[in-house]
Every structure is written in C-alpha cells, then in structure tokens.
C-alpha cells in the first residue's frame, strides 16, 4: 500500500537535491542548469556513437541508430526550458547571446527537425542516407554551440 511517507521519500530521493521539484517556476536556477546540462550529456551519449558511425570509426549498426534516434527525439525536447532568464548568472558554458538571440530558438528547432528526419531515415536501413542524416544532426550541434556556448 502506498503511504505518504513512502511517496515523499521516493520523491525527495529522486529529486536528489533534498527538495522535491515542483512547478518549474519554483525550481532553483542552479537546478535548471543542472537539468539542461544533464539533457546535453545524454544527447552526447546517444549521438556520439552515431557520429562515430558516420565517420567510419564505429561499425555501422542501423538498429543502434534507430534506437538512439528515438531516444534523441525525446532528449531534444528537454534542455530548453532550463534556459530561463533566472539562470543567466549561474556559472555555465552558455553565452549571454543564448538568452537574447532568436537564433537560439531557431537552432533548437533545427536540431529537432534533423533528429526527426534521422529517426525516419533510420528505419529505411539505407546506410548512405542514414550517415548523411547523422551528419545533418551534427551540423545542428555545432550550429548552436558555435554561437551560444563558450569554446571548450
């Protein structure tokens, strides 16, 4: 049986920050940054091997591409609500332009479109087309990072 104690414990632990996350307006700026960075870490986890396949460094595997593209479609929706004005003063690699330039939003949409295209193309099993579609996703990564992220 569900007890409130159980539920509270589960949520507090899941939040991992000692405070349950509620509506996004109440989430601390530092947490928003951590969340958006976490989404990017996972984008890198699942896009990295695909980039390797496109370059021939990793054996091509259409099933992995299809799975990862599906994951990336979901992950590509997650970072953006973490870029609120409240986070402007939190230390991160994000440049101030990300909070002012409408190209940042356009870049998000280009990424999502490229990933949706990759997910569709991945089902075809056509290696050349899939590799080209991976490359198009890669270009949207650098498209935003060049303008809105500190050089690493």
């Amino acid at each position: 049986m569900l007890t409130k104690k159980h539920l509270l414990a589960g949520i507090a632990i899941a939040a991992g920050i000692g405070v349950a996350a509620t509506a996004s307006a109440q989430v601390k700026p530092e947490t928003l940054v951590k969340q958006r960075q976490s989404a990017m870490v996972l984008v890198a986890k699942y896009f990295g091997p695909l980039g390797g396949m496109a370059q021939g460094r990793v054996p091509f595997n259409a099933e992995v591409v299809a799975r990862n593209a599906g994951y990336l479609e979901v992950l590509a929706r997650m970072p953006w609500d973490g870029f609120t004005d409240a986070t402007k003063d939190v230390k991160s690699a994000t440049l101030p332009a990300a909070f002012a330039d409408p190209k940042f939003k356009q870049g998000q949409e280009q990424m999502q479109t490229a990933i949706a295209n990759l997910a569709a193309v991945a089902k075809s099993g056509d290696e050349a087309k899939i590799k080209a579609a991976i490359g198009e996703v890669g270009k949207t990564c650098s498209g935003c990072h060049d303008n809105f992220r500190e050089k690493q």
Copy 2:
C-alpha cells in the same frame, strides 16, 4: 554541405568532454557515471511534479502527467548501462551492493513496469487512478535507493 570538419566539431562539442563518445566499452568510467547521474537528474525533473500532484502540492494536470510519463518511459532505460564494474571505484552515491545484488536489476524492471503503467493510466484521465499510479512509481524510486544508494 556536410564536411568532416563540421561533423567532428559537432560531435566533439556534443560530447562535451573533448573526446567523442564511441562504443560504450571505450567510454571512461567517469563519463559513464556522469551519464547515469544525468539520466537520474532528468527522471527527477519529470517525476518531481507528478509526485507533487499525487500529494496535492501541485495542481493536477493530466496532460503534464501523460507527457512526463512518456519522457520517463524513455529515461528509465538510460541509467543502467552506466553501472558497469569499471565504475565501481568512481566516487558516487552508489553503494557496492548495486554491482552484486540481483535485486538491483529487479528494481530497474519494477521502475520501468510502474512507469509503463503510469503512461497507460495517464491516458484515462482518471485522477484517482493516475495519482495511485504515480505513487507506485515513487515506491520503485525508494525501493532501489534504500538499498543501493548512500543516504543523502
């Protein structure tokens, strides 16, 4: 046009660690830990508000539950391949039992089952059933954290 330079730049930046992620066997243990923690941060982001709804602290919104449950179905697949033996010595809140006790794997499956159930129930719009299903997910959080994670 896609150039190799573009692609490499995009991948290196996306990986965020100066080295493109390739096959998981080649990923550094520290990166695996960062990736699994990132998945948990996002689980907390999208489960937190649902827990708040089940407790009555956050206004109930069936659409948010359905959206977040869909995200959680995908996120719940992501942490586990980061718990490799190679990560045993990396500093984290994971207890040694996670690498030895088969209940850890069972807990993963219970979480995934509870989230799949929540995603299905969310479509019904039945508030009481949805809140109960949220509670069942919360119990699977603490089910594993109690045994396999340091007390925070």
